[in-house]
């Protein structure tokens, strides 16, 4: 090993701004999550959603009744929420937990980075994966059916709007959920299990309690029911749902935001450097 003054010490460099530093953290986090589990779950989501859309719209086109509502079929099955839980767990469970676990968070926060910038960067990365998974497959399905000529342009445009609206709301909720639970632990495994646990408890518990009590507000505690309701409204379907679509959208976005704020609050309490 030779010891001499490093060459980098010569000259000055204009530093990048706050946005670039956030982007650096976000892009690193995004590609860090591009591991087998995330890629597999996202690919599976694409495969399932596109297949369901193409098959459903194909049969509807045979009957000459293809409409935007046929694209909404994918949300009726419990498979879609299950896939979203896998994506949220694989892409988001370690967002904050991994950095607290390996204590690299102390390096981030000793840099010219606000805590809110750091959490925002993690949100962008986790939200990016979830947005790809919630919106991407639907839009791909629309593109495939358009290429195959199964539906008219107006139906396709309505379907695009439906997928974007539903996907955005779902992505906000699952991102907030993943970050909120990730902030509670330093083990990604625990927060991943918690993501499944919380949603399943709300899904099953909410259904049971709503069935027993008949209370019309209890279904709002069920995120799956809320997403279905939002999809119902976004795709312009007639008929009633257990919850009001607009109220469900507000509930999901509100829960996502509250969970994000909770994550920020939790991170403020993390010991950055220990004696």
């Amino acid at each position: 090993m030779s010891i001499s003054a490093p060459r980098y010490a010569a000259g000055t460099v204009v530093r990048t701004g706050r946005g670039s530093r956030i982007l650096a953290i976000a892009s690193r986090e995004f590609f860090r999550r591009a591991r087998a589990a995330t890629l597999l779950s996202v690919s599976l989501t694409f495969f399932v959603v596109v297949t369901v859309i193409v098959v459903t719209v194909f049969f509807a086109s045979l009957l000459g009744t293809a409409n935007a509502g046929d694209f909404e079929t994918v949300y009726e099955s419990p498979v879609w929420p299950f896939l979203m839980l896998i994506v949220a767990a694989s892409a988001g469970a370690g967002s904050l937990a991994d950095d607290v676990g390996d204590r690299s968070i102390s390096l981030y926060l000793s840099r010219p980075v606000h805590l809110v910038d750091y959490v925002a960067a993690k949100t962008v990365a986790c939200g990016g994966w979830l947005l790809i998974s919630t919106v991407g497959p639907g839009l791909t399905g629309v593109a495939v059916t358009a290429a195959l000529g199964y539906a008219s342009a107006s139906v396709l445009l309505a379907a695009i709007a439906g997928f974007v609206a539903t996907g955005f709301v779902a992505a906000v909720f699952f991102t907030g959920l993943a970050l909120g639970l990730s902030s509670l632990t330093n083990r990604a495994l625990y927060s991943g299990v918690a993501i499944f646990g919380v949603v399943l408890v709300l899904y099953i518990g909410g259904s049971i309690v709503a069935g027993i009590t008949g209370n019309i507000y209890v279904p709002y505690a069920n995120p799956i029911e809320n997403i279905r309701s939002v999809a119902h409204g976004a795709f312009g379907l007639s008929g009633t749902t257990a919850t009001e679509p607009a109220a469900s959208a507000v509930t999901l976005v509100g829960a996502g935001v509250v969970l994000w704020v909770f994550a920020l609050w939790r991170m403020r309490r993390v010991e950055v450097i220990s004696e």
Partner: protein, 310 residues
Amino acid sequence: MPGALIDVSDVSKRFGTVDALSNLSVDLAPGFIGLVGPNGSGKTTLIRLLLGLLKPDAGTLTVLGHDSQRDPLDVRSQVGYMPEHDCLSPDMTGIGFVSHMGRVSGLPKEVAIGRAHDVLEFLGLAEERYRKIREYSVGMRQRVKLAQAIVHDPPLCFLDEPTAGLDPAGREEMLNLLRALGRLPNHSFVLSTHLLPDADGLCDQVLMLNAGRRIASGSVRELLASHEGESVIRIKGDTDRFVAGLTRRGLSPKRMDGEIRVGLSPETTHAVFESAMEAGVQVRYLGRSVATIEGLFMARVEQPEKGGSE
């Protein structure tokens, strides 16, 4: 003090019932600064306060002219920090991690990558830079921690226990690297360590803490010059009687590692031989001890009222 690198004024910080820092005031000029003291003396708390990661209960802290509480980002954009604890992402390569931290510090992407290569080469990790950090030895991980702290070329760098966990050879290598860094013009370092010999020969200033209080600070050369060197005595025979004889003659002998240490002047040297004759012991060695930061620290811990040179 205008132009000070670090200006700490009446800072106190309490955790529960524990006073981590008590009314600490110190001005430190640019250079290689030793922040020394035993574990729990408040060294890391002071670094956290200087980085703006903690709020003091009282007092103000200024780093490079910026108030660390009002403008923490201005401070952090000009400092590097090497934590004591492990903090590396094991799933990244050395070059990936260091360049990433360079970008988070505000370097453009291409510049960050270039500097990461340079600094890893400088630190002797050129061959291993593309390996995952999880495959690195403790010594290599310490060097990556140092690399991420200096990749953005900060004018001030906090090094928290950089030799922790290293074997003697690794420790010597790390100290050599720090010596090389210390020769860079316009670059200052704060070396926090409880291993006082690490600060010897490396630091030109020192801040000594004990139980959250300053026991000495200032130029190492001046502090050591003001520190009365003790004499070391090795004898063969009844040590207890010999020590009792010294005490009777008004000296304050201390028994350490089989030796006797005592402050002697030319006028009191004869007391050693009188006590030896009285106790019937042979004086095998009598000489001056070398003044070190460790010796100075021990002396100041025992006589805290003498601390505090500016």
